[in-house]
């Protein structure tokens, strides 16, 4: 593909090709483009995977859980603890949302590690939509719970009056940049990880097509792919965790702006 594009040095793999969105079923509902694309497909598969793990695996309601039920219960308790630790007990109301968010990102990330799959979270629009949902939701909760008292969040106590305007300005900017940092962190991590994998895979192909010495030379990038794959699995889980835990913290801020 990339070779046809005539990229520099005839690199055999286009690392960006995997992020391209291809329409599978064109669909237009009331002037809105709702085409079923490869991205849609993997979103649906993600929902299926999460549903399988949390609904199907617990269908037996076993007193002594099997493997799949254990995974469901561990995820449940993991997220429940995360919400309790970061947002307090009154944050439990939003537990289903945080759980859905965490599982959606986690499974979307993990499914993206399958060969030929599509990385839903490598598109800024998806991560930004999720982050914006969190940001708007948290802000609404903050004002609904505390009214204008929510603005205390931007006025830290114990700051001298002279530098208070500066501090408040910084606090407001950092608050407003939350959705941006939240979405770009996830998007950039997934994007960079998958590009890295593809680039090393390209090295393997490029070297191994260069004769016997090249085949031996290809061992090194191949080993790197193995190592980076392991690292990517870590990143997949970590980014889902970071997204969810930051959401919990923002929620905690909205519920207890005095702290």
């Amino acid at each position: 593909m990339a070779a046809q594009n005539g990229q520099d040095g005839g690199f055999p793999v286009d690392p960006l090709h995997q992020f391209e969105i291809t329409t599978l079923v064109p669909l237009n509902i009331g002037g809105i483009d709702a085409s079923f694309t490869n991205s849609s497909l993997w979103m649906v598969l993600t929902v299926f995977a999460v549903t399988f793990l949390t609904v199907f695996a617990v269908r037996g309601r076993n007193m002594i859980p099997g493997r799949m039920q254990s995974i469901a219960e561990m995820s449940y308790e993991f997220v429940a603890n995360m919400v309790r630790d970061n947002a307090g007990n009154d944050g439990q109301r939003y537990f289903p949302f945080i759980f859905s968010l965490f599982m959606f990102i986690l499974l979307a990330n993990f499914l993206s590690m399958l060969p030929y799959s599509f990385t839903v979270t490598s598109h800024i629009i998806v991560t930004f939509a999720l982050a914006a949902l969190v940001f708007v939701g948290v802000t609404i909760i903050g004002f609904a719970k505390h009214g204008l008292g929510f603005l205390r969040l931007f006025v830290p106590s114990g700051v001298p009056a002279v530098i208070l305007p500066l501090v408040v300005a910084i606090e407001v900017i950092s608050y407003l940049s939350r959705p941006l940092s939240l979405s770009v962190r996830l998007f950039a991590n997934m994007l960079a990880g998958h590009i890295t994998l593809k680039v090393f895979a390209g090295f393997v192909i490029a070297l191994s097509s260069a004769g016997v010495a090249g085949i031996f030379g290809a061992v090194l990038p191949l080993a790197m792919i193995v190592a980076i794959t392991a690292l990517e699995f870590l990143v997949c889980a970590l980014q889902a965790y970071v997204f969810a835990v930051l959401t919990c913290m923002y929620l905690g801020d909205a519920l207890h702006p005095g702290h």
């Binding site: 960006l16 329409t23 979103m43 999460v50 219960e73 599982m103 939509a129 999720l130």
Partner: protein, 192 residues
């Protein structure tokens, strides 16, 4: 992290700017940067809303209540079992307690019975022995008197025999009848 984020954005904007300036119709397909291809945003958002909405509904209505139920049930069951185990333990301790009291009582009773029996037996033995000893003492006393009488009789005989023998010897030696009174006197002197 924010710095990285900014870098990402700047690079992105370059690409995005390039696309919008050059106006490639299918920018996403040929060399553009797919995540910044705004043409795909609408469909992605629509499907994100659909899928995440369904997921949220399934989680909040089906999955999470079910898992919570299972965990809660197990917690109750474990608590019940622990309670029951505690009750059984208390019962066991009670049983051990009563067993030990019973054992101590039985031991004390056995001790008392043994002591009583021993006392009774020793008393019986004592009286028996006393009676035997009395009988024996009596028999010994009888025997002693008998021995004394015999001894006396024997001694009396000895004196007669001695006197006769002495008289005969004197008669044989002196060829004359011995003075009986003198012999008796000499024998008495010898016999003490």
């Amino acid at each position: 992290m924010p710095e990285n984020a900014h870098n990402g954005i700047v690079v992105g904007q370059d690409n995005l700017g390039l696309q919008s300036e050059v106006q490639i119709p299918e920018a996403g397909h040929e060399g553009g940067f797919p995540p910044f291809n705004t043409e795909t945003f609408e469909a992605q958002l629509v499907w994100l809303v659909i899928t995440f909405g369904i997921l949220y509904y399934l989680m909040s209505k089906v999955a999470l209540p079910r898992i919570a139920n299972v965990i809660e049930e197990r917690r109750d069951r474990i608590a019940d079992d622990l309670d029951q185990a505690g009750q059984f333990k208390a019962q066991t301790e009670e049983a051990i307690q009563s067993y030990e009291t019973a054992l101590a009582e039985a031991r004390a009773k056995a001790h008392a019975i043994a002591q009583e029996t021993r006392d009774r037996l020793s008393a019986e033995t004592d009286s028996h022995r006393e009676k035997l000893e009395n009988e024996l003492n009596k028999k010994i006393a009888d025997a002693e008197t008998r021995i004394a009488a015999t001894k006396e009789a024997a001694l009396a005989h000895v004196r007669g025999v001695a006197t006769d023998v002495a008289s005969s010897i004197v008669t044989q030696l002196l060829s004359e009848d011995a003075d009986t009174a003198a012999v008796e006197k000499a024998v008495d002197a010898k016999l003490g």
